[in-house]
């Protein structure tokens, strides 16, 4: 089973303050820690589990600059076999569809049975690249997958719907599956894995290498443009209870009592 896993390096904003940068088109990256996109990490683990069970190879693909190499090496350390990084200044500010086009250009040269991506990137939240990629490659797809079962030339995928209902379907391979968080338990890289990975070569592809021109990528190649980022203004703001944990808890328990909740 030859598999491709698309991974992305994203800022970890779950517990940080964010600030809009001077362009108004993204947040300020200063002081933020970066990590592999969570859903992509689950996608990688799913590929590694399938590889352990059925044999095969796992190739990582990332669109990003040199700083993405850390993320890629972590993936190699966990057990991916090869990696390709797609890097070109012209790729900057590509929208979801343009990103899918760039990744598809790299993938179409490769032999694969299954492509896994995370269902959503935690930075832009598009949930777009996986299904768009499938369409460009003319292969079937399923999004929001929480369980995979490989069968002869097919995969039985369970998709997660609202309220926890699962939609089970059979899809012919090759296919793209976008993976939901929680599908498995991602492993940590071993020391030996990290050592081996540091020696592996990461193939680099530029716009020219992929046979693309500047009208197909970046802002020029995008039909949508994100701009005028702003911090949400809360319509209603919670009454914040000041003081030390002791003092605030005291006041809060009083409020709960007044409301008949204690």
């Amino acid at each position: 089973m030859d598999m491709i896993v698309c991974i992305k390096r994203v800022p970890d904003t779950a517990e940080s303050d964010v600030k809009i940068d001077s362009s108004g088109r993204d947040i300020d990256h200063e002081g933020l820690a970066f990590t592999v996109n969570e859903a992509d990490n689950y996608a990688l683990e799913e590929a590694l589990l399938i590889k352990e069970k059925l044999g095969g190879t796992v190739t990582l693909i990332t669109m990003g600059g040199r700083e993405s190499d850390d993320t890629i090496r972590m993936g190699l350390a966990k057990g991916a076999d090869t990696a390709i990084r797609l890097d070109d200044p012209a790729f900057a500010e590509s929208d979801g569809a343009a990103t899918a086009k760039i990744i598809a250009s790299a993938i179409k040269e490769l032999q694969y049975d299954l492509i896994l991506t995370g269902c959503m990137a935690s930075d832009n939240g598009f949930t777009q690249v996986g299904p768009a990629l499938a369409e460009i490659l003319s292969i079937p797809h399923a999004a929001m997958v929480t369980k995979t079962e490989l069968k002869e030339n097919k995969v039985r995928a369970s998709r997660e719907l609202e309220g926890g209902l699962l939609e089970v379907l059979d899809i012919d391979l090759p296919a793209v599956l976008t993976i939901q968080t929680g599908i498995n338990e991602p492993r940590y890289a071993s020391i030996m894995g990290i050592a081996k990975a540091s020696k592996k070569e990461i193939a680099l592809k530029s716009m020219g290498d992929l046979g693309l021109n500047e009208n197909e990528v970046g802002q020029k190649g995008s039909k949508t443009r994100i701009d005028k980022l702003s911090l949400p203004v809360q319509d209603k703001i919670a009454e914040l209870i000041p003081g030390t944990p002791e003092e605030a808890s005291e006041k809060l328990s009083g409020i709960l009592k007044e409301r008949g909740l204690v």
């Binding site: 039909k223 994100i226 005028k228």
Partner: protein
């Protein structure tokens, strides 16, 4: 006259609420762009669906085909491509849902139309459509601008438009299904209901929800003790279930349970949309989070900005003392 298509979303024979919300949003937008709203109803035996949306759109395109009975991204994509190419609507709205997110991105590529996903509002700016959506887990709002294109596709976030029926009587246009064969390479097998666990959090008056901010599985018992002191039930956000720290039946949110308790105490929960969608109807919401800008404080009644490792035990003691007195 600009036409706005709204894809009716149904599941297991019922139209989902997001459909009426989208129709409301479409009608609202239609007034700013000299537009009309067309509900696209695909399914098997669609008479019931058509009746339900008749008051919400100017026109209904109804396609009855047993192959459309259950959602299938490939089948629905084929139908929509055929309809969109025939009618050339200015805008097509699809829900940002398990179904919609499987369909819209590939549909947009096939049509070569721009796509904005998970939009919470649609506005007109200088005569052009602008879609509003969020990024970074709800911490940032963004405006999406579209290049000139024969049409635009947007997926719409649930609960963005409070549903309001228009005083319309839709003209129903029955259209033949363009599908000629079963979808060979993608077959629907079955639906599987979420497993019923030991706990039914939808029945609890008091819920204490724990989120990512708890950082470690070993910190959860402390929150359980607070829940016990309050006489409430422990619940959680998705990351806690993903990590395997609590069972899925305790998950509050769009892919978990929707709850309406008298009190929801959110501990270390940032308040991303997928979670708040499941609990914002609680009567009283209290949040404890170390980030004063966390979106949860936008829906909470009261909040404590602080270290939950200190606040939770302190609160437990105060509650116990109150109950003892």
């Amino acid at each position: 006259m600009k036409e706005i298509f709204v894809l009716i979303e149904h599941r297991q024979g019922k139209i989902r609420d997001v459909t009426f919300e989208m129709l409301t949003g479409a009608n609202k937008l239609a007034t700013s762009i000299d537009g009309n709203v067309t509900a696209v109803v695909c399914g098997s035996d669609v008479g019931g669906y058509v009746e339900k949306v008749a008051g919400w759109a100017h026109k209904i395109i109804a396609i009855d085909d047993s192959k459309l009975k259950d959602f299938n991204a490939d089948a629905y994509q084929q139908v929509l491509v055929s309809l969109i190419q025939a009618h050339k609507p200015y805008l097509t709205l699809i829900a940002q849902s398990g179904f919609g997110s499987d369909l819209a991105p590939s549909l947009a590529v096939e049509l070569d139309y721009p796509l904005a996903t998970d939009c919470y509002d649609l506005q007109v700016d200088g005569g052009a459509l602008v879609a509003l959506r969020q990024m970074y887990g709800g911490k940032v709002n963004a405006r999406v601008f579209f290049n000139d294109s024969p049409g635009i596709i947007c997926t719409v976030r649930a609960a963005s438009f409070p549903p309001e029926e228009s005083n319309l009587t839709a003209e129903v246009i029955k259209t033949d299904s363009p599908l000629t064969e079963e979808m060979a390479y993608r077959q629907f097998v079955e639906y599987v209901e979420a497993a019923v666990g030991d706990v039914d959090i939808t029945q609890a008056d008091i819920l204490v929800g724990v989120g990512r901010g708890i950082k470690d599985k070993d910190n959860i018992p402390m929150v359980q003790e607070l829940a016990d002191a309050l006489g409430g039930v422990l619940a959680c956000s998705r990351p806690i279930v993903d990590a395997g720290w609590l069972a899925k039946d305790r998950q509050v949110g769009s892919s978990g349970r929707t709850v309406k308790p008298k009190l929801y105490l959110a501990i270390g929960i940032s308040g991303a949309f997928q979670h708040t969608a499941g609990m914002k109807a609680a009567e009283t919401i209290i949040a404890v989070n170390k980030d004063g800008n966390a979106p949860i404080f936008g829906i909470a009644d009261y909040g404590i900005v602080g270290d939950l490792m200190k606040v939770v035990p302190a609160l437990k003691e105060k509650i116990k003392a109150l109950k003892a007195s």
